[in-house]
Point group: C2
């Protein structure tokens, strides 16, 4: 069942959406955007739509199957965008039988709306008392009104101010807004529609009906076995969280440091996962925290300050990198404060960290100065001209300050793996229709972690094939609602992938093969690229900023050297 919420008329309609059968998550959100949004529409205008889409396995409680997708034309990339998010909402929407919510139109007055979804349907309510609040405060007010058990998606002042790097904050299983649909500025699209929050209450939901519940359970068991067997998903990630990657990447020479000027950070260990786990133990924080229902990996965390008060949560590797190593900052408490501020204002930590790095290179603060970085970030909360520049993301910050070392593709900042030292990842950044996105084809697995085989991270050989295969597989995984980290297990353990296919088939009574699911991934990528072309984004944009090709990255002193013509072969299917 689909809900269509018109913010111009404040009316809600219900649709069967039979034409979208067989689609979930990214495949569904992208299909809705392609079908309903004019590619030439202004991202903040009347013709753009914001999609909340549940995934093929939403509501089932599948292992690590709690994720959902947001979609729209992106104010950051000006192309199609899917932003994938954990937290509690995917499960609840799935239990309510909601496959998608289409938010459309622009509000007629400057108010503040909350969209409430429950077993009784969808209503749009005014809630002026949370207008202008940061996300933590707004969520607390909504929990007072709607109860502790609802799932909430909320924008901060960045979204209300339509900043192009604004994210949407989602509550986790304890109700803390620590999960983000981070990338692509979808918080600004939500803000343009006057929606401060979406609240989902699944009380009274009917029991999910499976086409073949026994077969589903058997499939789930296979995936669970694989997750429990693989050392990355059963040991490294639960123990140290994603932040375990800081030391690994620094060691590999691929941790972008001081605005992509080195691949190794002398302060890596001060901010890495091993340190974070020790701090959590000492202060009574939590490592091994699950971000969404069904999570077996539990790589998230709750981070406390020196006094033992919760400072932030969902404090992930990408954020520790962007706000830490990328700024030359090795004080984990300063980095945690910045993570909290980003989550509270509602801006993407990746684009924000890269933007701050550019601002530092432009002379606004010194690399390594955590307090100065915090002060710059606070400008985003004030929405001062400087804060608006930063809040518009790294590419715009680079443009406004006239900088030429700007790590962004299609307007979106390059994440935590330097493409000169993790070249498969560089291919993904260059070619993904999402703009620079590490999750779109996570070649780090094979380049660095030797999962799914091994491709030399410093060589040009094999990277295009690697990225292509991962982008196709990811397009499928992002449609299931499974956490991308299941990939670690299924790349090495065949039973895991079988389990996923069996769960999807048993959920709906399908009989699809792996190849058919991968074809869905291919078709998704083709359609996303077509949307971008119609939006004005040509194949010429499938490349990295030129400094990655000319400026050598210490310590390996390599450049990104995969020829443009090779990059153009990624989508040869």
């Amino acid at each position: 069942m689909f809900y269509r919420v018109n913010m111009g008329t404040l009316t809600v309609t219900k649709e069967a959406g039979d034409q979208y059968q067989g689609l979930g998550g990214r495949a569904l959100s992208s299909k809705l955007v392609e079908t309903e949004v004019d590619p030439t529409a202004h991202p903040l205008g009347e013709k753009n739509k914001l999609i909340f889409a549940t995934s093929l396995l939403s509501g089932t409680g599948a292992p690590n199957g709690g994720r959902m997708s947001l979609g729209a034309k992106s104010p950051l990339t000006e192309g199609i965008k899917e932003s994938n998010v954990g937290g509690a909402m995917g499960m609840k929407l799935g239990r309510l039988g909601v496959r998608g919510i289409i938010f459309e139109g622009l509000p007629q007055k400057d108010s503040c709306y909350v969209v409430k979804v429950s077993a009784d349907g969808v209503v749009v309510e005014e809630m002026p008392q949370i207008k202008g609040l940061d996300i933590y405060a707004a969520v607390a007010k909504m929990q007072e009104k709607y109860g502790e058990k609802v799932a909430i998606a909320c924008i901060g002042t960045a979204g209300e101010n339509k900043m192009a790097a604004a994210c949407v904050g989602f509550t986790d299983m304890e109700g803390a807004p620590t999960r983000q649909a981070g990338r692509g500025g979808l918080g600004a699209v939500m803000g343009s529609k006057g929606i401060k929050a979406v609240v989902v209450d699944d009380s009274g939901a009917e029991k999910l009906v499976f086409a073949d519940e026994a077969a589903y359970r058997a499939g789930a068991k296979k995936l669970a076995n694989a997750l429990m067997a693989h050392p990355v998903t059963s040991q490294a990630l639960p123990a140290y969280g994603t932040d375990v990657l800081v030391n690994i990447l620094s060691e590999a020479g691929g941790l972008p440091t001081r605005s992509f000027s080195s691949g190794r950070f002398e302060g890596a260990n001060d901010i890495g996962g091993e340190t974070m786990a020790a701090v959590n133990k000492e202060r009574g924080g939590k490592s091994g925290h699950g971000c969404s229902p069904g999570c077996m990996i539990r790589c998230s965390n709750i981070y406390k300050d020196k006094k033992g008060a919760v400072l932030t949560g969902g404090f992930e590797y990408e954020s520790v990198w962007s706000l830490g190593a990328n700024l030359g900052i090795n004080d984990l408490d300063d980095v945690a404060m910045m993570n909290r501020l980003c989550d509270d204002y509602g801006v993407d930590t990746i684009d924000m960290g890269v933007a701050l790095g550019i601002a530092m290179e432009a002379g606004l603060a010194k690399f390594g100065d955590g307090k100065a970085a915090i002060a710059l970030l606070q400008e985003v909360g004030k929405a001062s001209p400087l804060g608006r520049i930063l809040g518009a993301g790294a590419a715009i910050t680079g443009k406004v300050f006239g900088m030429r070392r700007v790590a962004a593709v299609k307007g979106q900042a390059i994440p935590a793996y330097d493409p000169r030292a993790v070249k498969g990842q560089g291919v993904t950044y260059a070619t993904s229709p999402m703009g620079a996105d590490h999750t779109a084809g996570y070649a780090v697995a094979t380049n660095i972690l030797s999962v799914g085989g091994k491709v030399d991270p410093l060589g040009a050989e094999g990277q295009v094939d690697l990225s292509r295969n991962l982008q196709i597989a990811t397009a499928f995984v992002d449609s299931t609602g499974l956490c991308l980290f299941v990939a670690f297990a299924i790349l090495d353990i065949a039973e895991g992938l079988e389990g996923i296919v069996e769960m999807c088939n048993a959920r709906y009574g399908w009989n699809k093969s792996v190849d058919e699911y991968l074809e869905m991934g291919k078709q998704l990528l083709r359609e996303e690229r077509l949307f971008n072309k119609k939006a004005g984004i040509a194949e010429g944009s499938d490349d990295l900023p030129d400094f990655f090709r000319t400026e050598k990255l210490p310590p390996h002193n390599t450049v990104f050297d995969i020829p443009k013509e090779e990059l153009n072969k990624v989508f040869n299917f």
Copy 2:
């Protein structure tokens, strides 16, 4: 003869450039950019080049034949850019036999360079004492050093600060820096290369050799006759300047007012050409001023303040519109002050006015408040965060402030003719490879001034054909060095076009037909579009911002309604 100036090594080489035979002006600058610049290069990076190109008739003294072209990959549009400029330099470079100067590389130290061109060749000189100066002051210092008779191209602080809307200021025949290569941010490219100014001294130049001087003179006479016969070029423009268009466009309902929210400005007459001419008479300013050698139209001016001191010059319709009507300002002295500030900081008046309109809509000042607008503009001179936002142009300003009514195409602001009421112009804005550019195919001539026939400005019929024909013809005219305003005469008087063809042929000993010259125009457009495609700009970007299709423009209450598919037929050749 071509000069290649490497700013990395500070060396100059001389080249014959035989491969560029038959090309001049825009055809030459674009060919050099296509040939030598990687389309994926960062506009401010080492791989971009800045081209100064003289035109087919440069140095001849042809009627209105003093213009030249600057070219580069644009920091504003991220595509290919030609910026056409009057003033004294084109004639002098032509007399020196210089067809082009290619500036390449990035300086190794943060200095301030002047490139001096004379009969003795080209030298690069350091001149730290003009670093950070506004253009009028820098030009005065250079005139002290190099003499009053040199022609100077100079950037202001905007170019030094690499603002994406930075222009290059050129001196006119009296040595005042009142002419600009305004559009596309080429001042930032010049700034990235550490070049504060280019100085041309043509003393000692040898006499130009014509293949057939008598035939050249006969052709020149034909064009001169046409210019003297046509009422637009012989009466309206000399008497009132280009600013005569304010009342005409307001009357026609196509004068974008208060950030494109109306097509008619109640204060039009206060800032129109008739008023400007009266003020000039009263204060001892000058109407009927020629901007470059050979000018017969003399549509420029020198504008004095209330005390009789020169305030600004080259105070054109587009600037009066952008800084006046578009901001709801009807005080001509305030508008003149803003024109002076733009010329002094070195920013494009069109992008700046549209950016200020967006800032006003965002609430930073009230429409109509001239003093507040001046204060906002002064932020550009200070390079404050706000000033940097504005200096990055209208599209970036709109993005940073999260606005959805942003009149720009391919990153460049839409000029002084609302596309909803002058629809042929809308086709040109949408489709020109230069981004929104009124001069690329000036349909105003036929839509509003009934020159070259008549196409109803409010109808959709015939606009695509009109824009296509004008874009092709303009690509040729912009290659000759002739002022675009000769088009008024040659569209109605066949003898004028004959004269142009005869001058070009006689200059070089060619025997080309009109069709062959137009084919050069077509080829130029094809190649510029191909560069853009390789740079990542797809056909999907050949459209107007969506609010022009949905928001009705008073007083005619029309929208831009030429279908996307029709726009895609502009380049069907």
